[in-house]
């Protein structure tokens, strides 16, 4: 799979929650993009040079479009949120390993997304729904349930909110406990405390959990060694238990990373 930097075009964009934007872009990268991979998005502001890594939410291979859903967190993402249909947008991709979807076949699956970790769950759900029994567990801050309708088409959806306004008050692990749910395999993306809790849960339950990590990145292609995750085994690149998230991740088997 070849990586490249190209100028894509914004197809459409809209806000879907406070500070959360939903953007479709037209790019040939859509042909190869896998669930759990990401693209690096460059700003036009030349004082801000490094790209922003953003996970792929959905791919439309036929029309060569990618969907990204991101939270405005600083000046780069603020700039992106102003883009309108027809605007050009420089991207580098497709990056990262993606979720191992083949491992879900014939299994009862938990897809667990927390906050801005929810978007990559959508393409994953679409890819595995046919051959798996999918249980989608989404954790939000409040009643702004972005992407929950999209996701619930592909499995049984449960919701937790921090403020208790919808679903279970608490987090995604509380949903499992309150509803007595179980699964054979987990795929998850979200904040680090959530991923740590999932790693612990998976170990106790004796099931594999594939978790998507994030870290501050520079090159995005495995050259700079800026974004590493501590691994339990020696990594294949530097042989030091520091794996490159951008290239060897962002998806890891939870037991393989020290988080």
């Amino acid at each position: 799979m070849e990586k490249r930097k190209e100028t894509a075009v914004v197809y459409r964009q809209q806000p879907i929650a406070d500070d959360v934007y939903d953007m479709w872009i037209e790019t040939s990268l859509a042909r190869e993009a896998k669930a759990g991979q990401f693209i690096s998005v460059f700003t036009r502001d030349r004082s801000s040079l490094l790209p922003r890594p953003i996970s792929i939410c959905e791919t439309d291979r036929e029309n060569e479009r990618l969907r990204i859903v991101y939270r405005v967190a600083g000046k780069g993402t603020t700039e992106f949120s102003d883009y309108r249909a027809g605007n050009k947008i420089d991207i580098l991709g497709t990056l990262g390993n993606g979720f191992p979807t083949e491992k879900a076949a014939g299994k009862r699956v938990f897809l667990m997304g927390g906050g801005i970790g929810i978007p990559p769950m959508l393409q994953l759900a679409k890819d595995i729904t046919e051959n798996s029994e999918v249980c989608i567990i989404l954790g939000y801050r409040n009643s702004q349930l972005f992407l929950s309708e999209d996701l619930s088409q592909y499995g049984t959806a449960y919701i937790s909110t921090e403020d208790g306004s919808v679903g279970v008050r608490g987090n995604v692990l509380d949903v499992i406990e309150k509803n007595g749910l179980s699964a054979d395999i987990i795929y998850a993306c979200g904040p680090l405390p959530m991923l740590r809790a999932i790693k612990k849960y998976a170990k106790t339950a004796g099931i594999p959990a594939y978790i998507s990590l994030e870290e501050k990145m520079a090159c995005g292609v495995g050259a700079c060694l800026g974004c590493v995750a501590k691994t339990s085994m020696v990594d294949h690149h530097s042989h030091v238990k520091n794996s490159r998230i951008c290239t060897d991740g962002p998806v890891y088997l939870a037991e393989d990373v020290e988080i």
């Binding site: 490249r4 040079l49 501050k216 995005g220 050259a223 060694l225 042989h239 238990k241």
Partner: protein
């Protein structure tokens, strides 16, 4: 018009003056998907130590105005893996190989230099200027006496010509250049990154786990050009100039200041095609100004 883009450093001929800055290009593998390595004057590898180094905790990088800070801490697989995996990869291309060497003590550096003596590498770049490791690195590069000593020791053991990579974090760059020259270095490269710091005001925390990091990118270019100019006027050694080079125009500017060759660093992250584009852009400049030999512009700036 036939363009001659060749340059020579310590008897080694390069097809053009465009190189990669150590640490920004791995051992070439990652960027070979974007850039034809055959087009480059040389690939300068990520620092290699005698044994694997795990580097610093994360976050290791952060963006700054017109640049970035890094504190990777020289994570590398060590000499054995490098020889087994990275050199054979690079040998597949028609480009020169310059290996960046790092260490915590003179003995560490010497071990790497000796280990590379029978390897098909063209030059060695000695990293005595990394600001992000607590032992070695910059400690050797901030004092002219230490720099003299380590240069002399390494030069005595090295089979390939050596380039001393200088730190900008000094009071007078010419003193350091002179020390390297006096100790027998074959060339110098500059500048390594400038020590900096960033604080996240919302979280009230350092942006980097290492607290400080090395600043690189276009933000540092004027400092780098000035130091290359000063060093070029202080010593006779050939200079590989770097620091924020993004375009062929930047590369030409460094050469006019006195650099024989140039290296592209952080801008590889911003434009993975940058090195190849700079090679083409230098040729365009030569045609535009009727320059037959690129070496004619080295140090050609006037008042």
């Amino acid at each position: 018009m036939k363009l001659n883009t060749k340059i020579k450093i310590a008897g080694v001929e390069f097809k053009n003056p465009v190189m990669t800055a150590s640490g920004t290009f791995g051992s070439g593998m990652e960027y070979s998907e974007f850039t034809d390595l055959n087009r480059l004057g040389a690939v300068v590898t990520k620092g290699v130590a005698n044994v694997p180094w795990e580097g610093n905790p994360t976050p290791r990088v952060c963006e700054t105005y017109g640049g970035m800070l890094n504190a990777i801490g020289l994570q590398n697989p060590g000499l054995d893996v490098f020889i087994e995996r990275d050199i054979p990869f690079l040998k597949k291309f028609d480009t020169k190989i310059i290996v960046n060497v790092c260490g915590r003590s003179i003995a560490d550096y010497v071990e790497v230099v000796e280990g590379l003596s029978d390897q098909p590498v063209d030059m060695l770049e000695i990293n005595v200027s990394c600001p992000n490791v607590s032992h070695g690195g910059i400690a050797f590069g901030q004092n002219p006496d230490c720099l003299f000593e380590i240069t002399k020791e390494i030069k005595a053991k090295a089979k390939q010509p050596i380039i001393m990579k200088l730190s900008p974090n000094v009071t007078d760059i010419t003193e350091m250049a002179k020390a390297a020259e006096a100790a027998g270095a074959d060339a110098i490269s500059l500048i390594n990154t400038i020590t900096g710091m960033k604080i996240d005001i919302h979280r009230r925390k350092f942006a980097l786990a290492n607290r400080t990091g090395g600043l690189s990118g276009p933000a540092i270019k004027p400092v780098a050009v000035r130091m290359v100019y000063q060093a070029a006027n202080a010593v006779k050694l050939p200079i590989i100039g770097m620091g924020g080079i993004a375009t062929a125009d930047d590369a030409i500017e460094f050469m006019l200041a006195g650099a024989t060759a140039v290296a592209v660093g952080m801008m590889n992250f911003v434009n993975p095609y940058a090195t190849g584009e700079i090679v083409s852009g230098i040729e365009d400049y030569m045609r535009r100004y009727d320059i037959r030999n690129i070496s004619d512009i080295i140090g050609a700036v006037t008042d």
